[in-house]
């Protein structure tokens, strides 16, 4: 049986600044810079290609500034790419856009918001990016249900409670704002919010950075359990190789906005081919 990817990304490029046309050929690991020497534009990522299969967990690793978070921001429609193609194959997409493959980057803001709400769940590194800190935790989760058009208070409340239980949040604190929560709990609220509309694809951007080791372990445990229960596809961005090792099936290594190596996680961590990956793995050990 042939397996089709649920998510496909082709030639994804993002440049901050005014590109001169030769930015991409003047930057990258070979030049040891991601700033174009001709026009000073920042090539955040260039020519990124990958696919994600149903139920798969894909890791993106790289040091700070390698463009891994930019990739996630692009896929979540937070920023606009310079060029690239982006496809998701799922029945929810057909419900929103109808049949036929459409490059998701070319959609209207309204359609993008629907996809962001129905098809994609995202957890950011900083909780304040994904949550409204002065609105109750329950309200934060309810927002996604309200965007989806649910107008029944009782059903909204039930669903929020269910998500609270799933993410092991204390139910008695449902009406408190996340600003009063600990860092680990804020991440759990973010995860609950991301799961609210049962998205088939989940993006996790450095979710455990800044958390202490025991909290980190419990969050990773939660993600693993949720993945087991829901079987969604996940893209995890991290600079922490231990997370990559524990969670992912396949890994992409990025440096200065380019993919330098891609393959099975085991293979990459045990037998890295690219000098940069070797450095990364060695420095971890």
């Amino acid at each position: 049986m042939e397996l089709f990817p649920i998510l496909e990304v082709r030639n994804l490029t993002k440049i901050y600044g005014k590109p001169c046309g030769e930015c991409i050929s003047h930057t990258g690991p070979i030049y040891e810079t991601n700033i174009c020497s001709r026009c000073n534009s920042l090539v955040a990522c260039a020519d990124i290609n990958f696919e994600l299969y149903p139920g798969e967990i894909l890791g993106i690793v790289g040091e700070s500034g390698s463009g891994k978070s930019t990739v996630i921001k692009l896929l979540a429609f937070d920023v606009e790419p310079l060029q690239g193609e982006y496809y998701i194959k799922h029945e929810k997409i057909i419900n929103i856009l109808g049949n036929g493959q459409k490059n998701l980057f070319n959609l209207t803001p309204f359609e993008k918001r629907q996809i962001r709400n129905q098809v994609i769940g995202i957890v950011y590194q900083y909780p304040y990016l994904g949550l409204k800190m002065n609105i109750s935790a329950g309200g934060n989760i309810a927002e996604n249900l309200l965007v989806a058009g649910l107008r029944n208070l009782k059903r909204i409340r039930e669903k929020v409670l269910e998500l609270f239980e799933k993410t092991e949040l204390p139910i008695q604190r449902i009406d408190e704002p996340p600003i009063k929560f600990s860092g680990g709990m804020q991440q759990r609220v973010q995860i609950a919010k991301a799961l609210s509309n049962n998205p088939p694809v989940l993006f996790l951007d450095e979710v455990t950075t800044g958390l202490d080791v025991s909290v980190k372990a419990r969050i990773l445990d939660l993600i693993k359990n949720l993945h087991h229960d829901y079987n969604f596809s996940i893209i995890i961005v991290s600079h922490d190789l231990s997370i990559i090792r524990v969670l992912t099936h396949r890994t992409i290594v990025m440096k200065l906005g380019r993919v330098v190596e891609a393959g099975l996680t085991d293979q990459i961590l045990e037998d890295p081919q690219h000098p940069y990956t070797q450095l990364l793995v060695n420095s971890q050990l």
Binding site: P109, F110, R113, I135, S136, G138, G139, A142, E143, L146, V147, R151, N152, L153, K154, I156, D175
Partner: protein, 280 residues
């Protein structure tokens, strides 16, 4: 008044405002920016409503001006005096007689007809301003019909207070498209906007916006399926002057006895009822 144009504003300004009114009627609930003109009244005192009234009024019109339902309060009397001075139109306090009714904070109790126009003075035209300070962002929300945060605001209100605490300015959805601020009218008046025979024009002079609800337009207050919109509850209370129990009542404290008393907010309707009763 000699030396002044009919309706105080010059013809070019009036035409500009009329064009904006037409645009507002064409897109029900959409806020149309306009070049709010200088008037001998400070901004925030009803200049939006006055400019609309002055732009659409003709010599044969009959004008009624009310402030919180009352024909004789300061704001109403002074606006009436000003418009009378610059146009010479006939004034009335009878809702059914007037062709143009300018109002602040109330819609008259008596039902109005297709031939009448109701002009409302608006302090804050943006219904989304309560949670979003950025004009750029609220305009984007309107453009994309991205109203989840308005719903979230209601959700939070219910979670906090077990009811929707918005008294006046209850947000409404116009023509199933735009969320609109109906100006600070009480919830009591909101159902009167739905499928009304009369044209409703809203003018915000300080904020420079005009919007409209054309006749026979669908206007729905925002409500959850299991948490419905309610009007003010006056059960067991009645107007101490006319005895009415089906009108919007103002609550007062009796100076001598210290008790709560209720009187009709719409004074001309209250007076009319008393007349009818004394004739019987």
């Amino acid at each position: 008044m000699k030396g002044y144009n009919f309706g105080f504003l010059d013809e070019v300004s009036k035409r500009e405002i009329r064009r904006k009114i037409l645009k507002a009627i064409a897109i029900p609930g959409y806020q149309v920016p306009f070049s709010s003109k200088e008037l001998p009244i400070p901004r925030g005192w009803g200049t939006g409503g006055i400019q609309i009234t002055l732009s659409i009024i003709g010599p044969d019109d009959i004008l009624k001006v009310i402030d919180q339902g009352c024909d004789e309060s300061v704001n109403a009397v002074n606006i009436k005096k000003f418009i009378k001075a610059v146009t010479g139109v006939e004034l009335t306090t009878d809702t059914t007689e007037a062709t143009i009714i300018q109002t602040r904070h109330r819609i008259p109790e008596e039902s109005m007809t297709e031939k009448q126009i109701l002009v409302l003075q608006v302090p804050y035209p943006e219904a989304l301003r309560v949670f979003e300070p950025s004009e750029v962002e609220t305009r984007r929300m309107h453009a994309e019909a991205d109203y989840a945060r308005m719903w979230l605001y209601l959700y939070e209100d219910i979670v906090k207070f077990q009811e929707i605490s918005i008294g006046a300015r209850y947000p409404v959805l116009v023509n199933n498209r735009y969320i609109m601020d109906p100006s600070p009218i009480p919830r009591w008046d909101i159902p009167k906007l739905n499928m009304a025979k009369t044209l409703y024009l809203f003018g915000a002079g300080r904020e420079k916006r005009i919007y409209a609800v054309p006749p026979y337009t669908d206007v729905k207050p925002l409500e959850f399926e299991d948490f419905k919109f309610r009007v003010e509850d006056f059960r067991g209370k009645c107007c101490m002057i006319c005895g009415s129990s089906d009108t919007f009542l103002d609550e007062l404290i009796d100076g001598s006895s210290g008790e709560r008393i209720y009187i009709c907010s719409d004074t001309s309707y209250c007076k009319k009822r008393r007349l009818v009763r004394s004739e019987l």
